[in-house]
Symmetry: C2
């Protein structure tokens, strides 16, 4: 893959696929000329779209796939019946090392199930994690896990920290992103046992990570830490709550601006400013979540993405593929394994003496 980057695309996944897929590639092709796309899907639907989008056409190769996995397919169903679908084949292009990453706007459950099955977890990672990008007062944070696992023990939380830190560096270019553990207070004795154990491991395992310590829910939008680590249950609920708050508040602002003559005049003048703000705050608008910890890069676009936001997911894939993500996390995972061996040996020695 030296020189030209190749991305594998599930051309048929998404509420408005394949249209938004090709529109997204067309937008992205004008920004990054040096990326090539293997677009898996139905040639009869993809070819006319490419003919209408010359920038995309110049960088795409269609790979015929006979079926599509529905947006509401269950993971088990996708695994049993998904072979030959655009999603399955797109993942196989990564498995075969033809492409550096896969991007799909299809079913999250199907993407997770098939990519785990085909790509398998990286050595040293117990469970993959879904990471979301979350707009904060200071920029963009990475929050994980937001739903791949319903629980996580201390070791898994440390692995999430290692993966999230490298992800955040690849995406933002910040050399040493800070890592916080989501908790119900910032004092050492707060929270579940797993979280306190994870905090101790993070501090003592000799990882090359800037550890911030515990953060609370309101620290996420504040941007207190660049990476926020939690289990998939808590992370999913925090993320959905935030998305719901952003939508609800957006609605209130709109109502408030229509409430009375003065406000209506105000809204007339302030319309542009309010439209800008709406896109800025909702983590649901930052496209390009990733499924981290597999032997291959797996990017999830929103199912309801439009062309520009699909292009944002393609950019996430490109940034990750051009980064040293795999080496960085392999290094920290090795440090972590060594520290755990040392701690186990110490415990054994103490028990023996």
């Amino acid at each position: 893959m030296a020189g030209r980057l190749i991305l594998s695309i599930d051309g048929m996944g998404g509420d408005n696929a394949p249209r938004i897929v090709i529109e997204g590639i067309d937008i992205q092709a004008r920004r990054r000329g040096n990326v090539h796309y293997l677009v898996h899907g139905d040639p009869a639907r993809l070819q006319p779209l490419l003919d209408a989008h010359p920038h995309a056409k110049a960088v795409c190769e269609i790979r015929a796939a006979e079926s599509v996995i529905g947006m509401d397919a269950k993971p088990s169903q996708a695994l049993r019946q998904g072979r030959g679908s655009s999603l399955w084949n797109a993942i196989q292009s990564v498995e075969n090392k033809e492409a550096a990453a896969i991007v799909s706007a299809g079913s999250t459950g199907a993407l997770m199930a098939i990519s785990m099955f085909r790509l398998r977890t990286m050595e040293g990672v117990h469970r993959p994690a879904l990471v979301a990008r979350w707009p904060t007062q200071k920029g963009m944070a990475a929050v994980l896990d937001v739903g791949a696992n319903v629980q996580a023990d201390a070791e898994q939380l440390v692995e999430f920290a290692i993966m999230g830190e490298a992800f955040q560096r690849a995406l933002t270019g910040k050399e040493r992103p800070t890592v916080g553990l989501l908790n119900v207070g910032s004092e050492d004795q707060k929270g579940h046992e797993e979280i306190r154990a994870a905090a101790k491991l993070l501090r003592e395992a000799g990882l090359d990570i800037a550890v911030h310590g515990f953060v609370e829910g309101d620290d996420i939008p504040k941007g207190t830490a660049d990476v926020v680590v939690t289990d998939g249950f808590t992370g999913n609920i925090a993320l959905k709550t935030a998305e719901g708050m952003a939508r609800t508040i957006g609605g209130y602002v709109k109502d408030a601006m229509m409430d009375g003559v003065l406000a209506k005049i105000g809204a007339l003048f302030a319309y542009g400013a309010l439209a800008r703000f709406k896109n800025k705050v909702n983590p649901g608008n930052s496209n390009g979540a990733m499924f981290l910890g597999l032997n291959g890069l797996v990017v999830k676009s929103h199912g309801s993405a439009d062309g520009p936001s699909y292009a944002a997911a393609l950019e996430v894939a490109a940034l990750m593929a051009n980064s040293h993500y795999q080496e960085e996390i392999a290094r920290n995972l090795a440090r972590f394994a060594a520290a755990e061996r040392a701690m186990a040996a110490e415990l054994a020695a103490r028990d023996a003496s």
Copy 2:
């Protein structure tokens, strides 16, 4: 306590106590004339405030307390050294049945520790829960637990549902508030084992509760269910995340309105509408959380409350004291205990056959 309602007040707890306490009582006295207050604290500081607030003066009785528990006191410290403080004595007035409820704007940890120690948990309740009022698109929801316990098993979640449902009825007057369990999806097989078991118990235990089923994070601000049940870890993080989002978005709206000449003109006209919206959305602005499940009503005001919001916490205490909360939850707890006995007997019979 027939006829006149008596509330016990921690006169010294809170960032701006005792001033805001007396201001709050003064406001509330004009709305509810029939409530009497036992105000525990330093007479030298309370008396001049009462002299300046004649409505409050008419309904307050000062009870001298020799000390104050600091806002950052640890629960263990409060338990050891809190005897004789305004908070301790205020709780004792409830324990002695002199007052129907205690209201404090002091340290949450100290309030929880001392009220658990003095009032003890109600029969049939394993652990008390902290309930928050959360403004939604449809009104006001009750969310619990938001931080009294870091975890909760299925039985405890059912107890939270029973307590939260009666709380919500007392506060909103809605006859049959709906109860949702916070989860990462609405399908039956989603989430932790405890949550799935709690859902089954809620449906099958013959409780007099309108069960909605699972809700997700974004359902809280939407108002999908009137009562949202979760463990204290998840609830605390959802609540803090929502508060942080509301503050962050409030800041963005302000910035957006100052961004450019047109927006500034708009802001000039829309100022009132925007000020109204700000108070409407943040769950942190709904004063009067409660610590449910004790032999006595315990209301927690924000530490930073001002007079009007302290009055809102007093109103929560009055609504609860005038409700049939204790009888309602005792009835559902008895139903729950009976259902659990029946299920245990059924299991035993199955094992024996």
